[in-house]
């Protein structure tokens, strides 16, 4: 028997809950003028995979840069002007014919913001976080990245302060391409490691 007076009140729609918290914090003077727009703009247009693509293209063209990138990712990425929160301790992992790298954060959503922007929804959702450490070969195949048995898979769970970037292999027949043309080949998924050239 249900009694409406004992039924819990319905949960407010999420948009209304956000608006409620925003209004209360604003009334208390805690939200600086323009702050929400400023942080939104930063992650919508000023950072994103286009930054990481420049890093990868430079590494493909310049062997000395690649060496520096693999030795000290943070410093080499800073040479191109990228750095900041969630990019202070960067490690770049290199794909080869024999190895494939892929990044995940099983505990939350750690991701290298300065070079890839904010993570996509699927990276933060439970199935990817649960499965990439347990059955990466099956999951990669399911996501359109089948790997031969002889290719070793290296999964990197970003569980502390280091953030990872995958350096994909340079595709064949790209000699003579400019840095910008090469960067245009580099996708977000390649740098997470759920795709392979």
């Amino acid at each position: 028997m249900s009694d409406s007076t004992h039924r819990p009140a319905p949960v407010s729609p999420v948009e209304q809950r956000v608006a409620a918290l925003e209004a209360l914090l604003t009334e208390r003077g805690l939200v600086p003028e323009g702050f929400i727009e400023q942080v939104t703009r930063r992650y919508e247009s000023e950072t994103g995979p286009m930054n990481g693509a420049k890093v990868v293209a430079r590494a493909w063209l310049d062997p000395q840069y690649k060496q520096r990138l693999l030795a000290d990712g943070t410093a080499a990425i800073a040479e191109l002007g990228f750095g900041g929160p969630e990019g202070d301790h960067m490690v770049v992992v290199e794909n080869t014919a024999a190895t494939h790298n892929v990044i995940v954060c099983t505990l939350c959503s750690c991701y290298p913001w300065p070079v890839l922007g904010l993570p996509p929804a699927w990276y933060k959702d439970p199935p990817y976080r649960a499965r990439m450490v347990r059955e990466p070969r099956a999951l990669l195949a399911e996501m359109g990245c089948p790997l031969p048995e002889e290719v070793e898979i290296r999964v990197w769970d970003s569980s502390a302060e280091v953030r990872y970037l995958v350096l994909p292999q340079r595709p064949p027949a790209t000699e003579g391409k400019t840095e910008a043309e090469l960067a245009a080949l580099v996708t977000r998924d390649l740098m997470i490691g759920v795709a392979r050239l």
Binding site: Y43, E44, D125, V133, E135, M143, V155, W156, A160, E161
Partner: protein
Amino acid sequence: MLVDGIHDLGGMQGLGAVDHSPAEPVFRHRWEAVARALLLVVADAAGASGGEFRHAIERMEPGHYLTSGYYEHWLTAAATLAVEHGLVTVSELEARAGGRFPLSGPVLAPPVADAGPDAGTPRFGVGDRVRVREWHPPGHTRCPGYVRGKAGTVVRVDGIYSVPDIEAHGTARRHEPTYSVQFDAAELWGDGQRGVRVHVDLWDSYLEPS
């Protein structure tokens, strides 16, 4: 497998396919961007550390966690911290929202009064065999459940960082070296899979010699 918090998802079965798309907007709705910004506002106003901020998400009721998206997690953590730090009250939130406003559950771990001394020198070097402590802390930790009790090999010694288990529970801090530890997937899961190595980044006190 023992799992302490719903967020500790590594290896959990039955969650289905990854809803993958090669490109999508950074924010699918404006409220997502606002929720994200509000957590930054609250963390700043409350002086909340990264550990406290993550723990506020991890304390969400498991059913709510699994059935709500990422930015609803941020909203819930922001509102929870705002209430716990006295910036707003639950009744104000619910009155404004026009309905129930679910918050995260209480902190179960006691505040850390004595963090113990910093550990300046790494105990382990590249190539050392280590085993992850088998323990189940009631509070925040960055040690995933799926590697507890498992043996691996140190492949990288990283910097010295504040231990999240301490910083999530008060103002005390302890700093320790961190390591990237490599585990053989077949050993983690006992399923005979070949050619898969899983690397987990771990604080010094999570490890013992193996």
